[in-house]
Amino acid sequence: MMEITEGSHAVAEAVRLCRPQVVSAYPITPQTHIVEALADFVANCQLDAEYITVENELSALSACVGASAAGSRTYSATTSQGLLLMTEVVFNAAGMRLPIVMSIANRAIGAPLSIWNDMQDSISMRDSGWLQFYAEDNQEATDLHFLAYKVAEDTTVQLPAFVCFDGFILSHTYEPIDMISQEQVDQYLPKYNPAEKLDAKDPISFGMYATPDYYTEFRYEMDMAQKRAKEVIAKYGKEFGTMFGRDYSALVEGYQLEDAETAIVAMGSICGTVKDAIDEMRAEGKKVGLLKIRVFRPFPSEEIALALAKVKRVAVLDKNISLGAKGGATAIEVRDAMYGSATTVKGYVLGLGGRDIRKKDIKEIVSLCEKGVGDQFYGLRQELI
């Protein structure tokens, strides 16, 4: 059913339909509308869950760890400083192989304090072992939650998942959403019933420690699970498409890429702006296309290399910066994916701390890339430096 809804509310509704038994969250801007909506659902018996109002984010995710290990589907949401506060648990939940799903309303990290959007928060967790999905719009943000649970809980994956969507830009924006029904969700996402859980009938120890004889293999297993997740995402993304008409089988998605000479690589809501800019550039005869990365972990290296094999140059947009390295994390990883090809890869760090990126900026970046200028911040206010 199509309805005009705020992004956060649409996400909360999707979470409700996934029937988590335990929701545990701590309020932080701009995630608050999600957790308020969920609290409202619980208060009105529209969601049969225990809602734990924890005292901070570290405990928010810790409670999810306990609930998930006890065999319940669990959910949390956070952003920015909150995600950093729970960092230790982020890594822990992945290592314990607990399929928790958490929404990230992407926001910059202080200092300086900023409540506005970029992707530094979730990108900083890229080595944690969590699957990372990035939404371009609120429809995708909504749908990715169903997919995230399905993939995370698959027995060949058993890893937690972030569903990332841009704070304010998506979380506080009203868009028309096609919300699938409870019946349909139940059909797609069966009840969570893990083979192993904390249970007096079959006592298991969770979270033991590993000596050097075992530790490496546990990390290897996590890496393999990440890699297996690619196929699982393809399978369940396709199933979603067959059932509901929106296919999420691809980890990356091309737009006007077939004959493109310059390709832009981007994640999240900026992709919408890029598409509009491409339409205008195409009208001017410029062969520009977009490769949208929907899944950042597992990182789709092969898919990227394949999709960009024919382009001359690539401009990677990063709403994050790996300080002291060569640009943002996406550019670094795309460059690695393209290693050995003749394609030039240039990175552009932009949109940090909520700075707007418009169509003209995208066009400017394309012309910089054409000139071979890149691997730099874009849009710096020179008068301040």
Binding site: V89, F206, M208, T211
Partner: protein, 300 residues
Amino acid sequence: MACKTCELFDSGHRACGGCGAALAARLVTQAAGPESIFVSSTGCMEVFSTPYPETAWKVPWIHSLFENAAAVASGIEAALKKQGRKEKIVIMAGDGATFDIGMISISGAFERGHDFTYICYDNEAYMNTGIQRSGATPYDASTTTSPAGKCSFGNNRPKKDMPAILAAHGAPYVATASIAYPADLMQKVEKAINTPGPCYVQIHAPCCTGWGFEGEQTIAIAKLAIETGLWVNYEMVDGKVTKAKKVVRKPVTEYLKTQKRFRHLFKPKAQDAEIAVIQAIADRNAEKFAIDIKLPPKKE
């Protein structure tokens, strides 16, 4: 349900010979029985009982991190509620995890009123990392981060009053116990487990390695702590002390002398002023909990 003949904490664990905490784990798992789920914080007990794949826990057990056991337990409790399950939840955490790093998550979980029992096995320092001071380290104990030296008598603060803090959270049942009194300990753990809401039991568990004494003395030293009034076994129901073990008190030196961590109070010379401070702590305990048994005057 308690199972006094069950061995739910298996032999083969790697605790030091004479470990007070290992005995506490045995007694607490027996008092809790097989229908319970245990949550551990990072620490000595977690390490000596669970090197993969050799778990000593015959009950369901989970360890996540150092500071979050109470939050993990909150999540388990919520999950069990939704699944209609009846297992009891017992946290086993050391004093560092309880008094210091886990304080926020404990406060949050007690305030929210989850139904679990939080057991702190109190060996009065960070033993796993090599005997550093914690908020539970007693006055003048020498640890590796509060060493006695030419201008220091060791730890310069008294123990944090954790039971009072948790009673102030509205915990319906708070108790202290000692491995030297196993029947009392088990009774208190059982009572805590069967009391709805967040309950707290703090167990004095001497550490032969950290305190500096022979493992065979573990129980004897735990007993001396009580007999000198430096540890009081008591119960609080709804914030009020209802019971405290009475003793014919011995001077604190009888306890202090037995352990290397207090050796600097006696050698190279007796530090009477410092010992007097510790005696005053015991005297205050005795007064506060009214533990002194007054012997009738001896007949001439």
